[in-house]
């Protein structure tokens, strides 16, 4: 594995003795004083925040990353149980509305070091080159200020660091993966069988789950609880892929620290640090640069809650862009019933994908497309699927007793970015007295067509595999957007390097900067964007072509 370890030693910094956390590394962690003006303070230690922290700490920056949630230890904090994993989710109050309200919490929002990737499924596809210019190619969505080749080297880096297992990928920009594909369980077998008989291309992967040992991270034990946090350290999350290396290079991870406000000096127009609450006390961390990485709901909320005289409508919100163009993927889930036992709870829920329907098909009456993947709901989530068919009482119990016979597919439909799909502040306040986020979501006609098309393809696949009955539930997956990157401040909040247009030393490096979402799960792209932003910052600080003032100026 020459190369990866030289860049990111995280997997080797984890204990190799069967325990999951390097306690010494955490105990010896560097700690900065609040009034010490550090080079960079990061809000949020998820996909984007952790990669940024690791890259800049390696480059010698003095970095602290604050997270509202705990610094997890998989051995003592996580369980191999569905209901018992509730504490992994962001469950502070939020309000949802619009014509198609999107449930939050477990479905799309994590809290704690590692972010939502602690309980994400682990699919890590790249975006397609077409994703970066849907407006000019397909007349819908938006064009990014960067393009696929800008991200490709970062995709390759992160794929090695996670690392990713999968078959050679024929879609988008064709590429291979560092780890061989995993064997599939019953659910994956059904998908492959159904797709083959219809002539639909499907591939095993790509999943951020080690196949074989990687550093001190062991092989997956196929126990199926990926969405409850991987107690094995086999599934990648920043907690094990980037945070250990960041600590080893002098970064501070300050857990249980809820950032309530970003301060900006009225005179200079520059950010001076962040206010945060920890142990019930309010504190202020000074910093020469601030990066926000709280994900698509909390990042806009923090900006809106940071209103000041200079920014009366919210920080960086001179052009009413903050919170807008928030996206979710339409994620209808179709299950098929087989007389044979499928037992979809075995093996990781992410197994097989098809991106055959990803691009715009001129023969259809909708633009853009969808991907299809295995999903393997555990009993509680499965009960939701069954109850959504209208069952209750005896009929619900009877249906549920049939659990071992069902296989399940999920689609990711590329819902389009729309300005009215947005976060605003509600009247309601949280435990800190701060206004909570209100998230309004409504589908457009194209969205609905995609949802229907995806559903019928999934039903066909399951029937072709031999299902005698199929049932579908309409769901949503993933959040992106809300503080998007754009060519100028009239159309977005940050530029292609994640620097905010309004405040020269304020960056946003998380899922909220994505202008479109493709039909790909977003975590890999979020990490790649953060890695690229980090590279720019490091280059600028060394006196390269400046995108903005770096530390020390």
């Amino acid at each position: 594995m020459h190369g990866v370890r030289d860049r990111n030693e995280s997997a080797w910094l984890i204990p190799g003795d069967g325990t999951r956390t390097n306690h010494r590394l955490r105990r010896d962690m560097r700690r900065f004083a609040d009034d010490d003006e550090i080079d960079l303070v990061i809000v949020g230690c998820g996909a984007g925040g952790s990669v940024l922290a690791q890259r800049l700490a390696r480059a010698g920056w003095r970095v602290a990353a604050l997270d509202a949630g705990p610094f997890w230890d998989p051995d003592t904090d996580w369980v191999s149980d569905e209901a018992g994993s509730h504490h992994l989710y962001w469950t502070d109050p939020r309000v949802i509305g619009g014509t198609d309200p999107v449930p939050l919490g477990s479905n799309n929002s994590g809290r704690g070091v590692g972010g939502s990737m602690v309980h994400y499924a682990g699919y890590v596809p790249r975006f397609h080159p077409s994703d970066f210019a849907t407006l000019s190619r397909d007349g819908v969505g938006a064009d990014w200020p960067i393009s696929y080749p800008d991200l490709r080297p970062y995709y390759e880096q992160i794929e090695q660091e996670l690392p990713v297992a999968g078959e050679r990928w024929p879609w988008g920009d064709p590429h291979g993966y560092p780890h061989r594909p995993h064997p599939v369980g019953g659910n994956g077998e059904i998908f492959l069988r159904g797709a083959a008989s219809l002539g639909i291309e499907a591939r095993v992967g790509p999943v951020a789950i080690t196949n074989g040992r990687f550093g001190n991270r062991p092989h997956c034990i196929y126990r199926g609880f990926c969405l409850q946090g991987c107690k094995v350290n086999a599934k990648a999350s920043p907690l094990i892929t980037h945070i250990p290396d960041a600590l080893a290079h002098g970064a501070e991870i300050r857990a249980n620290a809820m950032v309530t406000r970003i301060e900006v000096d009225e005179r200079t127009g520059r950010a001076t640090g962040v206010r945060y609450i920890t142990d019930g006390a309010e504190r202020f961390q000074r910093a020469a640069m601030v990066a926000v990485a709280g994900y698509s709901i909390e990042t806009p909320r923090l900006l809106l809650n940071s209103a000041s005289r200079r920014f009366p409508g919210g920080l960086c919100n001179d052009f009413d862009q903050v919170g807008r163009y928030l996206m979710v993927q339409g994620a209808p889930q179709t299950a098929g019933r087989f007389d044979a036992e499928v037992r979809m709870y075995k093996a990781p829920p992410p197994e097989v994908s098809s991106e055959e329907f990803y691009e715009t098909d001129p023969g259809r009456d909708y633009r853009r497309g969808f991907a299809i993947q295995n999903v393997s709901p555990l009993p509680i989530t499965w009960a939701e699927h069954v109850a959504a068919q209208g069952h209750w009482g005896r009929s619900l119990r009877e249906y549920m007793s049939d659990y071992v016979h069902w296989a399940c597919l999920g689609a990711l439909c590329e819902f389009l970015p729309q300005p009215e799909n947005r976060v605003t502040l509600a009247d309601e306040t949280d435990q800190y007295g701060l206004p909570v986020a209100s998230f309004s979501y409504s589908q457009c006609a194209n969205d609905r067509k995609l949802m229907r098309a995806a559903r019928s393809v999934m039903e066909d696949i399951l029937r072709a595999a031999g299902a005698d009955e199929v049932i579908t539930i309409e769901r949503y997956a993933h959040l992106v957007g809300g503080a998007r990157m754009a060519a100028d401040q009239q159309h977005g909040v940050v530029n292609g390097n994640c620097r905010s247009f309004a405040v020269p030393n304020l960056y946003i490096t998380d899922g909220s900067v994505l202008p479109t979402q493709g039909s790909a799960n977003p975590a890999l792209t979020i990490m790649a964007i953060a890695a690229r932003a980090a590279d720019r910052l490091i280059r600028d600080a060394r006196g390269g072509a400046p995108d903005g003032p770096g530390p020390g100026d």
Partner: protein
């Protein structure tokens, strides 16, 4: 979604029937679970008595939950206690609809509404109403779909009830017996994934053709 009214009473299946996986008992495997998980799961077997709901509310909630999951008198899973414990500590799902109050208040309000419906239909509280009337009252809420029910969108009330009820029920090891799910899987993991494959500790479905949909046709 394609809600099918009347599903509550329709099935011929009896809740006492646990014969699909004869002898299967995940909790008996607890010695194979890691300590933290075992503690979390086994704690569910003896939840504390309700403290969020008043006695009247708890009675209504218990009757509602027992109907939603077809629970009969003996060997009940303590749904009311589990849900009360969540509401008492504010363990919500992390969101609520803009036209619904937060979960605790929504529970209290919807239980009061259910009692009001029971009084006008039977002259008793919901808990004291005959089972057949309880089922009809519940069915009436489901049938309203997106319509208004006592000032709340009926569909969102339905979602609140079923979400909490299903989460509580299917988190309980006794429920796993009847669905063939082995529960916690760390550190043991699985060695035989694939269609038609089983671990030594899994039990075959004794009635694999018992497709609920097929039975209905």
């Amino acid at each position: 979604m394609s809600a099918r009214p009347g599903r509550g009473a329709a099935a011929s299946w009896s809740p006492g029937q646990q014969t699909r996986f004869p002898g299967f008992d995940p909790a008996a495997q607890a010695s194979h679970w890691d300590g933290v998980t075992a503690e979390t799961v086994l704690r569910r077997l003896t939840p504390p008595p309700p403290k969020f709901f008043t006695a009247d509310q708890a009675a209504t909630a218990e009757a509602l939950l027992d109907q939603l999951l077809a629970q009969e008198s003996d060997q009940k899973i303590p749904l009311i206690e589990m849900i009360d414990a969540r509401l008492a500590t504010g363990e919500t799902d992390g969101w609520h609809y803009s036209d619904m109050p937060e979960d605790g208040q929504a529970w209290r309000g919807s239980l009061a509404a259910l009692d009001a419906d029971a009084f006008s239909r039977c002259g008793t509280s919901f808990a004291e109403a005959p089972g057949i009337d309880q089922m009809a009252l519940i069915q009436a809420v489901q049938d309203r779909g997106p319509g208004d029910w006592h000032g709340l969108p009926a569909g969102y009330v339905w979602s609140l009830w079923t979400r909490y009820a299903c989460t509580a029920y299917y988190s309980h090891p006794t429920a796993w017996n009847e669905i063939g799910f082995p529960g916690p899987a760390y550190p043991r993991g699985y060695k035989n994934a694939g269609v038609g494959k089983r671990e030594p500790f899994e039990v075959a479905d004794a009635d694999p053709g018992d497709d609920p949909l097929r039975g209905e046709a």
